[in-house]
């Protein structure tokens, strides 16, 4: 059995860990509120953007001349996967969930004999992927220095992707991120952004005849790159809300576990203290008896 001093030391150390995790939980909770707010505020933009693009693409008559970002390059050989993760750890299964989702997708691609290229956003994803897929990672982007998720970061990523698409370095682009459902649940998502999936919402085919100035093609070719940045921005917002949520619940668990541990250790401490006292008493009594 550990000595009384050792037990005491352990109790203090667990207690101070508990203080840290508790503080981290509070910080995450405050940040979560902000991240959720901005995710909510960012929603109208991406929704409107989506609507306009749906309207536009349904109005396009000739699929042949449609911009490549919409119709694809006609091949499906090279896949680009953009994996969005966080830059910081200690957030439970947040990063591992995205990586797991991405890895199963990569395995599927491998089986089909497709070529794979990876861009990682956030250093944690890069750390986890480079062991197995190190030679496939063509770019690693990290926004450690930006305080909040902002559109310009998303635009940077978007520009890199579009540049690579124009150089015909890949045919299909998919992004991986965590969708925020609530504090406990985040759902890893895979979303294809190039070519754009326009079939998803077909409910309002109400033949609104729009006037276009200039013509559809030109607007579309102007709009689609923006849409990519917007989609990435949306994913980044969802991700940051998810990250804080995941961290909050992870830290909550850690605090609770530390509490349990302190309880257990305290009982052990008291028990061994009592045992020591009893032992001493017995020694004294038996000493007195022998006289």
């Amino acid at each position: 059995m550990a000595s009384l001093d050792d037990l005491k030391k352990r109790i203090t150390s667990v207690k101070s860990t508990q203080k840290i995790t508790k503080a981290m939980k509070m910080v995450a909770a405050a940040k979560l509120k902000r991240a959720q707010d901005s995710a909510e505020k960012g929603r109208p933009y991406s929704e409107k953007m989506n609507n306009i693009i749906l309207n536009l693409s349904s109005g396009i008559s000739d699929k042949e001349t449609a911009p490549k970002l919409l119709s694809g390059s006609g091949k499906e050989q090279v896949h680009l996967c953009v994996v969005l993760t966080s830059d910081r750890g200690l957030c439970g299964g947040f990063n591992s969930n995205i990586i797991k989702k991405a890895k199963s997708y990569f395995a599927k691609l491998n089986k089909e004999g497709k070529e794979l290229k990876i861009i990682t956003v956030g250093s944690k994803g890069n750390d986890q992927l480079k062991r197995v897929y190190g030679n496939k990672i063509i770019e690693n982007i990290s926004f450690k220095n930006s305080k909040n998720t902002n559109y310009f970061d998303a635009e940077k990523v978007g520009k890199i992707i579009i540049e690579k698409f124009q150089k015909e370095e890949f045919d299909i682009c998919t992004i991986f991120y965590n969708q925020f459902k609530n504090v406990i649940t985040q759902i890893p998502q895979a979303q294809q952004i190039i070519p754009l999936n326009t079939k998803s919402d077909d409910q309002n085919n109400s033949e609104d005849s729009y006037e276009f100035e200039p013509d559809e093609d030109e607007i579309l070719s102007n709009l689609l790159p923006k849409n990519i940045s917007t989609q990435i921005f949306k994913a980044m917002l969802e991700n940051s809300a998810s990250e804080q949520g995941a961290r909050m619940s992870a830290m909550d668990n850690a605090t609770r576990n530390a509490g349990e541990m302190v309880d257990k250790l305290t009982i052990e401490y008291n028990r061994s203290r009592q045992a020591a006292i009893t032992k001493e008493l017995i020694e004294i009594i038996s000493g007195a008896e022998s006289l």
């Binding site: 901005s38 505020k41 960012g42 109208p44 933009y45 991406s46 409107k48 953007m49 609507n51 306009i52 309207n55 536009l56 902002n150 559109y151 998303a154 635009e155 609104d208 005849s209 729009y210 006037e211 276009f212 100035e213 200039p214 607007i219 102007n222 709009l223 923006k226 940045s229 917007t230 921005f233």
Partner: protein, 130 residues
């Protein structure tokens, strides 16, 4: 009453502005300035750098935008833009910074014609604010 319509300006971070009592909006559309009144035909267009002027019952407001898409439908004008500033709260040094960036961009050697045109537009607009 009857010739008022609704305007919504959103940027990626938030819903920037929403007004219900707008009489006229002039936007810097790609092929020239465009004035929009109530019952305009449904239209989609995109913007070049310039000034959006909103004539509302509550007064006139001017905004500087760098790009954007507009959609007019059912008497609602939606403007999506990634960079927008209210002319009223623009500061002198911010303006200088924007101007410097824009000029740098337009003087890049490898710039494409379209981008060059947009950058020049930006420079001109910012100068006109000054």
């Amino acid at each position: 009453m009857s010739d008022e319509f609704k305007i919504e300006i959103v940027n990626p971070e938030k819903s920037f502005l929403s007004k219900e009592d707008v009489n006229e909006v002039v936007v810097p559309a790609f092929e020239g300035e465009m004035g929009i009144l109530k019952d305009h035909i449904t239209i989609i267009s995109f913007l070049k750098p310039g000034i959006i002027t909103i004539q509302a019952k509550s007064g006139e407001e001017k905004y500087y935008v760098e790009d954007g898409i507009i959609e007019f439908k059912n008497n609602t004008l939606s403007i999506l833009t990634s960079y927008i500033l209210n002319l009223k709260d623009i500061e002198k040094n911010k303006l200088q910074e924007l101007l410097k960036n824009a000029e740098e961009e337009s003087n890049k050697p490898e710039i494409s014609d379209q981008l060059k045109y947009l950058a020049d537009q930006k420079v001109e607009t910012i100068k006109s604010i000054n």
